[in-house]
């Protein structure tokens, strides 16, 4: 039995905001199936009582000094924007998507 179906890959693509074609879904379903089957071997390590590590360093709550510093100007911040209007990022509509 395969670890992941084409329908599941289509769902992952939606969650990942990737508009994939039918051919791509077939291709990724085969490859992801092989990868997931391999990485499932992490289960071989008996680690029930072991705490998880999200990070290699034992650091918590690192703050920098609360000082006023120079930040980007609006021109700098908008310089790489795909579309700009009135000193703001112009974006496609985000509301009424259900309509």
């Amino acid at each position: 039995m395969s670890a992941i179906t084409r329908d599941e890959v289509a769902h992952l693509a939606r969650l990942s905001r990737l508009a994939l074609t039918g051919n791509e879904l077939d291709h990724y379903a085969t490859q992801l199936d092989a990868i997931i089957e391999a990485v499932a071997k992490v289960a071989e390590v008996a680690a029930e009582d072991v705490p998880p590590s999200s990070h290699a360093l034992p650091l918590t709550n690192v703050f920098r000094a609360d000082e006023v510093r120079q930040s980007l100007t609006p021109e700098q911040a908008l310089a790489g924007a795909p579309a700009v209007e009135d000193d703001r990022f112009r974006v496609p509509r985000i509301l009424g998507e259900e309509a």
Partner: protein
């Protein structure tokens, strides 16, 4: 000897003594690039004028008596994943094609302050995801030893540039082996510093708990000088270590392994390893013993599953990090015809802007983080990460450093593994454990494999903040082998 064959330390002292100007050194390298780039294709962006301007500025500062660092005036190739204000920064992705960052990465800033002259931005696997540089959206880079082979990856442009004498130094980033593996397969030195020892500010994120900037050079001392130039605490990176570190430059000059305890990892060396790689590796271990080191066999049983834990941890972090490419504030926007919603534009842009490996990893990470799968995949991988760190700690109770081959095979052919992701991932088998534990590790050349005449690398691993041990052992190996070979390994490379 021509300027391009000199070490970075030699060039720096010639520039400091006024024997040659930084502009002359930069020009010699730009000329070399013009000659060999059509074959090697190490760079994504080269701008002669900007480079000469930087060199002129350094010459002016030096003439004015300004005290600059020990690499002042030396040219460097910079991986195109560090932001640079005066050059485009793409991470080798179509989604960032043509982007000009509004700020310099900390590593970039420190290179400039130290008087290093940036020759251009080097090619990489898109967003540093890959082991061959074939995942660049723009073009593959070729291995200077054999133009039909890969230069390793993800920092393959940086390794190729140094191996092809286009630059004496380059920068890289190592998330699962992306500095050490390319260094190994191109016959040069590449170091992954302790995680947190070098700043990630302005480094385009792939897997934030693993990404580590580090140096490439043609010898151990040059690599140490470069690491020292850009490392150290950075308040702009909350995972930057604020602690004193032993001098790596001193260690690179020390080169004494007498009495050091060296652990040979039992898990790396059997099936799947090329015989020619193992032959050079075993000889080098014997060499260390003859230099007075005490060699013992060490076992870290979970290292064999480190690869699998990595391919859950890194894609999970990548799926989260790369969510920032949303077609709204910078980078590519595709399909915005006035009728489509932001969400539709986002999905079309990401489909058009990301290459196949990036899409694969984003979906794999999304899967591993999904409810219902989280505990079995990401959660278990995080526990394995703890187990691996503990096995390292136990090993370092017995030994000062651990060694292994850097990669199971020498450079593979371009195209050979592109359609088989798992085969590609195996290139990082030996390098991944040090990333999961945040430890330091270096790759130094240790000879050519008999069957194909291609370079083999020795990996030397050390505990957190013991980067100096990597350099000390690396320098000892380099010194002993170069006296045997009558010069650096790279002199065996065919002329381009």
């Amino acid at each position: 000897m021509s300027l391009i064959r000199k070490t970075a330390a030699e060039l720096a002292s010639m520039i400091a003594a006024g024997e040659v100007s930084s502009v002359e050194v930069a020009e010699a390298h730009l000329d070399r690039m013009a000659e060999v780039e059509p074959k090697v294709k190490a760079f994504l962006h080269v701008d002669r004028e900007t480079t000469i301007e930087q060199a002129q500025a350094v010459d002016t500062r030096l003439r004015a008596g300004e005290k600059l660092g020990p690499l002042a005036g030396v040219p460097i190739a910079h991986k195109d994943i560090f932001t640079t204000r005066d050059m485009p920064t793409t991470a080798a992705s179509k989604i960032l094609e043509g982007w000009r960052p509004p700020y310099d990465a900390t590593v970039t800033k420190r290179l400039r302050e130290a008087g290093l002259v940036i020759l251009g931005k080097t090619n990489l696997d898109e967003f540093a995801m890959g082991s061959s540089t074939e995942n660049s959206a723009f073009h593959p880079t070729r291995n200077p030893w054999d133009l039909t082979k890969v230069p390793g990856g993800s920092s393959g442009g940086s390794s190729a540039a140094v191996a092809a004498y286009e630059a004496p130094l380059s920068t890289g980033t190592d998330t699962g082996g992306s500095i050490r593996q390319p260094a190994s397969v191109t016959g040069i030195v590449g170091m992954k510093p302790t995680y947190g020892g070098s700043s990630r500010y302005g480094l385009i994120a792939f897997a934030s708990s693993l990404d580590t900037p580090g140096p490439f050079a043609r010898n151990v001392l040059d690599a140490a000088l470069l690491q020292e130039a850009f490392s150290g605490h950075d308040p702009m990176d909350s995972t930057s270590i604020d602690a004193p570190v032993p001098s790596v430059v001193e260690a690179a000059r020390n080169a004494d392994v007498a009495g050091m305890r060296i652990g040979v990892l039992k898990e790396f060396g059997g099936e799947g390893f090329q015989p020619g790689v193992l032959a050079r590796y075993n000889e080098t271990v014997q060499l260390l013993e003859s230099l007075g080191a005490k060699v013992v066999e060490v076992s870290c049983p979970s290292f064999t599953v480190a690869l699998y834990a990595y391919y859950l941890v890194a894609p999970s972090e990548c799926s989260s990090n790369l969510a920032r490419f949303d077609a709204m504030r910078y980078g590519l926007r595709a399909g915005d015809d006035g009728t489509r919603s932001a969400e539709e534009v986002m999905a079309l842009t990401r489909a058009a802007g990301f290459g196949p490996e990036v899409k694969r990893r984003i979906m794999l990470g999304t899967y591993a983080l999904s409810s219902g799968y989280y505990d079995a995949y990401y959660g278990q991988a995080q526990k394995v990460r703890t187990v691996i760190s503990r096995e390292f700690e136990a090993a370092y109770q017995q030994v000062d450093v651990l060694v292994s081959p850097t990669t199971p095979t020498t450079a593979f052919a371009i195209g050979e593994r592109v359609d088989d992701p798992m085969a590609m991932y195996l290139a990082d088998l030996c390098t991944i454990p040090s990333n999961l534990a945040g430890n330091a590790a270096i790759s130094v050349p240790c000879g050519l494999a008999e069957e194909d005449g291609l370079p083999v690398g020795l990996q030397i691993m050390a505990p957190v903040l013991a980067d100096d041990r990597c350099y000390r052992v690396g320098a000892a190996v380099e010194q002993a082998l170069e006296s045997r070979w009558g010069g650096p390994l790279l002199k065996e490379a065919p002329s381009l």
